[in-house]
Symmetry: C2
Subunit: 163 residues, 2 copies
């Protein structure tokens, strides 16, 4: 008797957004930012399924349960042209090491390739060695000389008001 | 007799794309990647002025000449919500230190604030100390623990074909 777990990867629907939010929160905990998630499932439904959606999601489903997802959206390189940004790639903790993350990654890269983008881009935390090795092994380049800069809502508001 | 240089900042038009491309190429040289720019002005016209544009540009103009620009597009944070990415902020070399870069930056941040985005994000090269200090002084956070990962067209194609 085999014990092979079967799962499918498909486009997310509005009804998946509660499960997707749970995955986002699980990743935030893994990245040591348990209180960082301020959006809710309704916001994901509104932004992901409007006329010009803010993102697209593939989910991994096993026994009618969402156990992983990848969320991405277009970007633009002024050197290369249209590109795509992989914002999140998440597999539920108890379903890791079954190849589901790799399958989501492949599914996403096949989608990117079908869209003929000039570049695929994402970010990784420097201590997440497993992820870095996985990306490198897949042929991606991990850059050491670029730093990410951000202004959050409060910083932006402070900048605007001090003028 | 004063010698104050007057300039305006405005939305870019299709006709500005040749000048914008020149600025993009100037930045590529500054970033030690003189051959990195493979797009042309027609591509910028097509991608920036279609029904769902890939980006938006503000230009700085002095005596009917484009001397600076900033190019940006929407992104999405799964923690915070809709955000905006500043891809390029460029001032022509001979017009630097006149406050034009700061004015473009302000104009962009005011636009971002008017759109009620939850975050503004960009990337900076770690040796560009002037830029890093400028961003920090403006209230932005420069992150040390995130690395940028990319697959270019060739790497993507290699990944797809080796499966």
């Amino acid at each position: 008797m085999t014990n092979i777990k079967k799962y499918i990867i498909r486009d997310a629907s509005k009804d998946d957004m509660h499960a997707v939010l749970d995955l986002i929160k699980e990743l935030a905990i893994f990245e040591n930012e348990p209180n960082a998630v301020i959006i809710d499932a309704e916001y994901l439904k509104a932004e992901g399924f409007k006329e010009k959606p803010s993102f697209k999601i593939f989910v991994a489903e096993m026994n009618n349960k969402i156990i992983g997802m990848t969320l991405f959206y277009p970007r633009f390189s002024t050197w290369k042209g249209v590109s795509i940004h992989l914002e999140d790639l998440i597999v539920k903790k108890e379903y890791r090491n079954l190849g589901i993350g790799k399958a989501l990654y492949k599914h996403f890269l096949e989608y990117a390739n079908s869209k003929k983008v000039k570049r695929v881009e994402w970010a990784v935390l420097d201590w997440n060695i497993n992820a870095i090795n996985f990306y490198k092994k897949s042929g991606a380049t991990v850059f050491d000389d670029w730093k990410i800069v951000q202004m959050n809502e409060q910083q932006l508001s402070k900048f605007i008001n001090k003028k």
